[in-house]
Subunit: 131 residues, 2 copies
């Protein structure tokens, strides 16, 4: 990871106690929610996030994954392909962002011409269900 982005985001560094502002402190940038989107779509590996059409730079992706793990929105699990590599998956806290992503999707579909649905409801996967 490139640079330490503050130890744990303690409540004292928040801009205000407003839950909207607080949520934006955590997921309010151009890339973080795209990673969440990919996870909701079933993607789980660094390479898969990197391959998404928006083309997130690898240094940004790497830093965001660290930040998301610190915020307990994602966790690392053993990859289900038998290799030693690890995969990412949403925690319960991360899964709870689904309505937010759906709201973003619905607004975009309704008000911006030329967008096409990408975030369809997919079956939830739960931790330790390595299937």
């Amino acid at each position: 990871m490139a640079k330490e982005p503050a130890p744990k985001l303690p409540a004292s560094t928040r801009r205000s106690p407003c839950p909207v502002a607080c949520s934006l402190d955590i997921v309010g940038d151009r890339w973080t929610l795209l990673i969440i989107r990919d996870l909701l779509l079933g993607r789980s590996r660094f390479k898969e996030f990197s391959a998404s059409p928006e083309g997130i730079p690898t240094n940004i992706l790497s830093e965001r994954l660290v930040r998301l793990r610190r915020s307990r929105i994602i966790e690392q699990i053993p990859a289900d392909d038998g290799s030693k590599r690890r995969a990412y998956q949403l925690t319960e806290k991360g899964e709870a962002l689904r309505p937010l992503l759906e709201a973003l999707r619905d607004w975009g579909l309704t008000w911006e011409k030329g967008t096409r649905a990408a975030l369809t409801p997919i079956p939830r996967r739960r931790a330790s269900t390595a299937q």
Copy 2:
């Protein structure tokens, strides 16, 4: 306004046709949705946005207001205090962001300790209802 931020945000400058990515191109930063929050709470003047506890810098606020008008999310109307000054209000497209803000609020309230509700449902105001 400080610097022209691209004429109209034509579809061709989008990172992808994904409606989530497209929405984030428009409202995906740390400040824009706080302005929308304030508008949903009934605030309508530059000074009121500026006075919110998160303390948005005035140059950022100014640039975001221009951008939001370009995206037809807000519009300027005559202030309802009889003065020559103008106020901002949400368009229908902007009001349609309400579920998104509610999702942000709910997630913050549930998962981040120490946040307090700020975005409560308030009666809608419609354009040209200068009351």
